[in-house]
């Protein structure tokens, strides 16, 4: 005989204002099987929980329904309270009368009636609940960090320094990411490479970090604590073990006019190359698409120039299988292609460049050795116009969001220009100056007041070439007047966008993404570094546009989440798993394909002589995540999900 206790929470005014809790308690109290039906201001408070425990003990309750907020909030709280009172925690259910009732209705009578329906439906479910026991799974204490930019490196170092193994995977030939491309960094103006390269070296030499560069994630299987990852090691055509990084091959390569990705196409590289001088590992790769040998079948000059025969043109892509317990995704961002702004002339006039290209010009290791020179004629520009929000906050052509870093780096660019070209004049077109952060507003003020950047509040409508100058027509909205500036160079503060293959990648590893391709966090405020998939964490600009301090902070936060996960030998998992009725299973294997966790296997049923009489599906409870996909797919209704059995769901529906 069921003895169900119903506990109706007012949640202060959240529920109490729209639902008559006394009436609700009385109505539900009359429902068959309900032994106790009480209301209270805050059941989640200590006295509230104590009263639930007392009611369980005093009445020998067989089940508990807490009518309150979403189970996402306090299901764990009340299940724990039930367990402390000696009731199996899975005999406790939450009826959501806040998010799904009081918050969305205005009529008190009708909301109360609906709350009664929701609560009664849960009572019917609880009557059919089973006493489940938690499942324990082992944790592989090894983390995978995807992306070798500053966020990935920081996360890898933090995890490794705490004594856990890390595999760091980077798809480019070198660690470094976008930070390695930058000149100097706001707001302190320290040289980006000078602070970045020691981290790269530390990561590469760390005994706990296994570094895989020029490698891509092909496939991810498994679940928190037990991921199985397939990594493709792209053929470098250079033997990593024997190569000394002397660079002879690079000097000899006849293909010298390939646009360098690292230098954003304003510098050139060879077909066998390292992206930049301080590359880690400092061992070249052959760019197959541009290599003379791969194109024409003749050349191999690099091979002949190599004194230790490290070059091997027969090298093939290799695949490595990894077992890891946690994954940190730090895959970074890209800059938007400014060709969408035909009126700014990007791609048409060589002296209209992106902010990232300006970084390369200003960088001491860049193609101009840090001199600000025009890409068209190599002359020093006397006037530069910076256009902010070239893509950001522009729903028509660009992206709706703010890229967050552009106000700061444009101020930095104006500053660097002033330091390098003393009588140069810079004009900055801006919408607003967003400089929230430690030392940030002071920094932009310095650009305006000390380095005399002229800030013009308004948008640019057109850039065109006149003689040797780029004419920039815009509007000064503070003066209410159109302005035309003759510039030698135009720098666009390009929007930060997600990696072009971000959505594809998210599907490969099984995490969510937003409309822009940035990866979704589990909760924007309370769980900002966890993805919606347990065991996969986010770091850096792959989640949203971020500057370096934010990326590093998020990376360390992710690392701490990973370390917390690795602090236990075993992980306790909810026993909400599927099981199969072998006698009715038709063996169509649809569930095997449908299961996103590969948790369903084929099982032979044998007779006494060992002959297969039937083949059925069998669920591995260690792998099952309880998503229920198989249950919905199974045509013969042979699969069922513990905690959400067909009987429970049916009773719940019928209880309405």
């Amino acid at each position: 005989m069921a003895k169900i206790g119903v506990f109706i929470c007012h949640c202060g005014e959240n529920i109490g204002a729209k639902i008559d809790c006394n009436k609700l308690a009385a109505t539900v109290g009359e429902h068959p099987g309900v032994a106790v039906s009480v209301e209270y201001k805050y059941f989640c408070s200590d006295p509230g929980q104590e009263s639930v425990k007392k009611a369980i003990r005093d009445n020998n309750l067989t089940g508990v329904v807490v009518a309150a907020c979403s189970p996402r909030m306090h299901e764990a709280t009340f299940r724990k309270a039930c367990a402390e009172a000696g009731l199996n925690p899975y005999m406790c259910e939450i009826a959501n009368i806040r998010e799904q009732c009081s918050w969305v209705h205005t009529d008190v009578d009708m909301a109360t009636q609906k709350a009664a329906d929701i609560t009664r439906s849960m009572v019917e479910k609880v009557k059919r609940n089973n006493k489940l026991q938690p499942i324990e799974v082992p944790v592989t204490r090894r983390a995978l960090v995807i992306g070798g930019g500053i966020a990935g490196i920081q996360a890898a170092l933090d995890i490794a320094n705490a004594g856990q193994e890390v595999v760091l995977v980077e798809r480019e030939p070198s660690l470094g990411g976008h930070m390695a491309q930058l000149s100097e960094t706001f707001p302190t103006l320290d040289c980006s490479q000078c602070i970045m390269t020691p981290r790269m070296v530390e990561a590469a030499q760390h005994p706990k970090i296994r570094l895989l560069t020029y490698a891509e994630i092909v496939h991810v299987d498994g679940y928190i604590g037990n991921f199985k990852v397939k990594v493709k090691m792209k053929a470098r055509y250079v033997d990593m073990d024997s190569c000394t990084g002397c660079g002879d091959c690079i000097t000899k390569c006849p293909q010298k006019k390939i646009e360098s990705e690292f230098d954003c196409s304003i510098g050139m590289r060879t077909a066998i190359y390292t992206p930049f001088a301080q590359s880690v590992p400092n061992k070249p790769v052959i760019d197959k698409a541009n290599c003379t040998y791969f194109k024409n079948g003749k050349c191999k000059i690099c091979m002949r120039s190599c004194q230790i025969n490290a070059i091997n043109f027969d090298m093939q892509d290799e695949f490595i299988d990894l077992e890891v317990g946690a994954i940190v995704v730090a895959t970074g961002f890209q800059v938007q292609n400014n060709a969408v702004y035909g009126e700014y002339g990007y791609g048409k006039y060589p002296d209209v460049i992106t902010g990232l290209q300006f970084e390369r010009l200003a960088s001491a290791s860049g193609p101009t050795s840090g001199k600000i020179l025009r890409p068209s004629d190599g002359k020093e520009p006397e006037t530069i116009v910076f256009i902010q929000c070239a893509g950001s906050r522009d729903p028509s052509k660009g992206v709706r969001y703010c890229s967050k870093i552009c106000c700061m780096y444009t101020a930095k660019h104006a500053m660097l220009y002033a330091h390098k070209v003393h009588d140069g004049k810079s004009h900055v077109f801006y919408m607003d100056i967003r400089a929230a952060g430690k030392g940030y507003d002071e920094f932009t003020r310095r650009a305006i007041e000390e380095d005399e950047a002229s800030y013009v509040r308004g948008r640019v409508s057109k850039v065109w070439q006149k003689m040797n100058k780029l004419m920039v027509r815009g509007v000064d909205t503070l003066l209410g007047k159109p302005v035309v500036i003759a510039a030698d160079m135009v720098v666009l503060a390009t929007a930060m966008v997600s990696q072009p293959d971000a959505k594809e990648f998210a599907k490969t590893i099984g995490i969510g993404y937003d409309e822009y391709g940035f990866f979704n966090e589990a909760h924007l405020k309370l769980r900002p570094v966890e993805s919606s998939t347990a065991g996969i964490f986010l770091a850096g600009a792959c989640q949203s546009p971020k500057d370096i301090p934010d990326s590093v902070a998020q990376a360390s936060a992710s690392a701490s989440k990973v370390l917390a996960l690795f602090s236990k030998q075993k992980l306790e998992r909810e026993p909400v798993v599927a099981s199969n009725n072998e006698s009715t299973c038709a063996g169509c294997w649809g569930c095997v394909l449908a299961c996103p966790y590969n948790a369903i296997e084929k099982k032979d049923i044998l007779d006494r002589s060992g002959k297969v009489i039937k083949r059925v599906a069998s669920v591995n409870p260690g792998l099952c995540q309880g998503c229920g996909t198989c249950v919905t797919f199974c045509r013969s209704n042979s699969l069922d999900l513990a905690g959400f059995t067909e009987k429970q769901i049916f009773a719940e529906v019928m209880g309405l």
Binding site: T508, A586, C588, W589, L593, R635, S636, N637, E646, F650
Partner: protein, 276 residues
């Protein structure tokens, strides 16, 4: 020699040489224009075989009769292209080993019967491929066109009237080669999801459940239509689902024995128009 005679000879050869233990074909039915299945185990029995334009039933469902193929011996079967497609689905869903099946292929179009070359399911893949390419853009069925032109309310009323005749005899299920579950969902009574009485709700539930269970699997053979004692145009529901599945996922049921079931497979380039 007529097609019937040619195939009779082939059936006899298959049996007498011991290549197959049984041939599933057609014989005379209760009226001159009806055919019923004929299970031939000896060459002599093949004499009663009939093959003409009235042989339209899809026989593939008989292949999964409990125990028929468990001795790993081969069985020959008369199949039209839709039958070959359902054979492929049965193989894809692990219900039979396609290596055991010898296909005697034929086709019926506009009351004309033609022989089809090949004897393994895969020999018909080019033909099935071309069937997929030539799926008409428009329904091509006057009744279906009429239904398509209705608004939601009219359409609901139409089906309500049609389903009101349903007596829950489940003949459609018994006739369908795809309904092979040992226990059908309508036979579950703990809980009883589908109401067993012949009332509007239960009738809708049953027919909609069947439509979903057949989406991406129905080959449009019409067995259900012909089996229905109250003449509900069941085939139209499945034809509509097949059309949706083809449009949304480029899935044409029964292309090969390795085709993945459309509702259980997930591809990265699946269209996501249905996700709000």
């Amino acid at each position: 020699m007529t097609i019937q005679e040619t195939y009779k000879t082939r059936a006899k050869e298959l049996l007498s040489s011991g290549r197959v233990k049984m041939v599933v074909g057609y014989k005379a039915g209760s009226t001159p224009d009806r055919r019923r299945p004929h299970f031939i185990r000896t060459p002599e029995e093949a004499d009663r075989l009939i093959l003409d334009s009235a042989c339209i039933a899809n026989l593939s469902g008989y292949l999964i009769t409990e125990g028929l193929l468990s001795d790993e011996k081969s069985v020959g079967i008369f199949l039209k292209p839709d039958g070959v497609r359902s054979l492929n689905i049965l193989a894809a869903e692990s219900q039979l080993n396609i290596e055991q099946i010898v296909v005697l292929g034929f086709d019926v179009n506009n009351n004309e019967i033609t022989a089809l070359k090949g004897e393994k399911a895969e020999d018909f893949s080019t033909l099935i491929e071309s069937l997929k390419e030539h799926v008409p853009q428009t329904p091509g069925n006057p009744l279906l066109e009429r239904i398509e032109a209705m608004n939601a309310k009219e359409r609901f009323a139409f089906w309500e009237a049609e389903f009101s005749r349903c007596i829950k005899c489940y003949a459609c299920r018994q006739a369908c080669p795809m309904c092979y579950c040992r226990r059908c969902i309508v036979d579950c009574n703990q809980p009883q999801w589908v109401n067993t009485s012949s009332h509007t709700l239960g009738n809708f539930e049953w027919n909609i459940v069947r439509a979903f269970h057949l989406s991406g699997r129905c080959v449009g053979c019409g067995n259900c239509d012909r089996a229905c004692p109250v003449n509900i145009p069941l085939r139209l529901i499945n034809a509509k689902m097949a059309h949706e599945v083809l449009g949304a996922f480029d899935h044409f049921a029964g292309m090969s024995q390795t085709q993945e079931p459309v509702l259980a497979s997930f591809k990265k380039d699946d269209s996501e128009t249905f996700i709000l």
